[in-house]
Amino acid sequence: MNSPQVITLTDISFRYGAKHRWVLESLSASIDHGSITAILGPNGVGKTTLLYLMLGLLEPQTGVIRLDGREISSIPRTEVSRMIGLVPQLESIPFPYQVVDYTAMGRAPHLGLLGAPQAHDYQVVDRILEMLGISALADRNVQALSGGEAQLIRIARSLAQEPDILLLDEPTAHLDLANKEHMLQMLCRLAEQEMTVLFTTHDPDVAFSIATDAVLMRGGQAIASGDMQSVLTSENLSNAYQLPITVHEVEGHKVILRNAEGCR
């Protein structure tokens, strides 16, 4: 964990099949250790695809992805799972697992193929549920949770992997204002604990509120990446979203105004 850059993407190109369009084209970016990085861009720009590439779930047709300086394809699967946790945007859980059992599934990378969670693993689970403030949900049925609670248990399951890097796909997309704020504060707390947090969002305001770094995407490429302040400028955002957007500072917080005309 000494390398300042935990993930580096070099010249990544990816498409889902030979007859499909390129989703990503020669994308390069790097993610710093301990940063909160927002992957920002319009819908369908390939943000989720980028997360799957970082997990090794998809393999790029060209380019190299390195985790801690090692090529991801050369790292054993369970080792990758101990380094990176994924919090999908939505997850269908077809059976009524108890929250504690569902969270314990995150222990899989620490167990063998034939293993099952032991007392020690349940201690880790209890600790994580407590840290997220959802110990009261432990015995509840995962299918009976609210949207905000469901998002929290997905994070709990990923944290049970005890990863160094947490990837979150649109973590605030389905949350109301209070839950959104709670979620963002929690990501800040995780970053304070030396975790590298990487999340996708289509909403620049979410990026402004907590990100230290940003990767701004458009047309399968990173049009800017690095320090959040220098990436998320009026000019870059207008370019990414193809809309006249201006960044303003209100009481010390950055907000965007899209200069839309309303009904025309």
């Binding site: 779930l57 994924l86 697992y97 899989a108 034939l114």
Partner: protein, 331 residues
């Protein structure tokens, strides 16, 4: 924690199963209908021989059949993320039926060709479904396997129909029909030994990988992010479940409903975590099948086909659960 509670139910279930197995040895139509007194078994050499050579292997087959069908059902429901699938649907049941019918028409009622063809075509059904699913250009992996299973089952079912149409209505047709109704009346020690090489590895694989089933019931991306290889692991578990089921189907015929209904009862009693509910399904499946088989061979002077009883009782239990309890059918 909650697991202590489950262990109590677990211990009681195993105890109940052992008790039922012991009682089943005394249940039957010799020397008088329904019950053999204990001292009779000790004194009467014929009674002892009957229990050891006829009842015991049949009881063992019923236990294995129930455990295999129920655990295969539990495995498939989790792998297919669908609580309504059952072990035979990937072309396995219909494949076995076709193989058995073919054997009756070509080799008469010999048990070796019948078992060989039944298990051969059951596995052919599985492999056929798998290959077809790989070639389908439509939907996700699970949907493709389900569609392929339906298509392959329909093919075999049509084939069985043709064989029934061609069969001699006085000799072969009744035999096919009786086989399709399912039953263990012909079960011998030889059958027990023949199925063990399939059943033990199949059930062992499923049992050892049971916690893994939880991961595989999640979305593919999530399962992958937890270090699982969803497609490969699903295939191995499927193979284990189906091989055990196919071997026993070859002997017992089509015994329905156990694979569908028992996993539901097991999840209700032991929770959704497969670490506990899979062994639970094995125990309940074994007990339910043994109970049905006891009734099948005892209630009347003739034999009631086992498949009829499991469907009758299974459907009853299913309706009871669907109407009394809350059932989670998400998506």
């Amino acid at each position: 924690m909650k697991h202590r509670n489950n262990k109590t139910i677990f211990g009681l279930s195993i105890l109940g199963l052992l008790l039922l197995t012991a009682l089943s040895l005394f249940v039957g139509r010799y020397p008088t209908p329904y019950w053999m007194p204990v001292d009779r078994m000790l004194e009467d050499p014929l009674a002892r021989r009957l229990v050891l050579t006829l009842r015991l292997p049949r009881i063992l087959l019923a236990l294995l059949l129930g455990a295999s069908l129920a655990s295969a059902g539990a495995v498939m429901q989790m792998l297919f993320r669908n609580p309504l699938v059952e072990p035979g649907f990937l072309g396995v049941s219909q494949g076995a039926a076709f193989g058995a019918s073919l054997s009756i028409l070509t080799f008469g009622s010999g048990s070796l060709p019948m078992h060989t063809l039944a298990i051969g075509f059951a596995l052919a059904g599985l492999v056929g479904s798998y290959i077809l699913a790989r070639r389908l250009r439509f939907g996700g992996w699970v949907l493709r396997l389900v569609l392929a299973g339906i298509a392959v089952s329909a093919l075999f079912s049509a084939g069985t129909g043709v064989l029934k149409y061609l069969a001699d209505p006085l000799t072969e047709l009744p035999e096919i029909t009786f086989w399709l109704l399912g039953g263990l009346w012909s079960g011998t020690w030889e059958d027990v030994l023949n199925v063990l090489p399939f059943v033990i590895p199949g059930l062992l694989l499923v049992f050892l990988l049971r916690w893994r089933l939880n991961l595989l019931s999640l979305d593919d991306e999530t399962a992958w992010s937890l270090g699982a290889s969803p497609e490969k692991e699903r295939w191995w578990l499927l193979l284990g479940a189906v091989v055990a089921t196919a071997a026993l189907t070859a002997i017992a015929g089509i015994v329905g409903w156990i694979g569908l209904i028992v996993p539901h009862i097991a999840r209700r009693l032991f929770g959704a975590d497969a670490q506990l509910h899979l062994p639970g399904a094995m125990i309940i499946g074994a007990a339910f099948t043994l109970l049905c088989d006891d009734i099948a061979r005892t209630l009347t002077a003739g034999e009631i086909p086992l498949g009829i009883l499991t469907s009758l009782l299974g459907a009853g239990v299913f309706m009871l659960i669907m109407t009394t309890f809350r059932v989670h059918l998400k998506r």
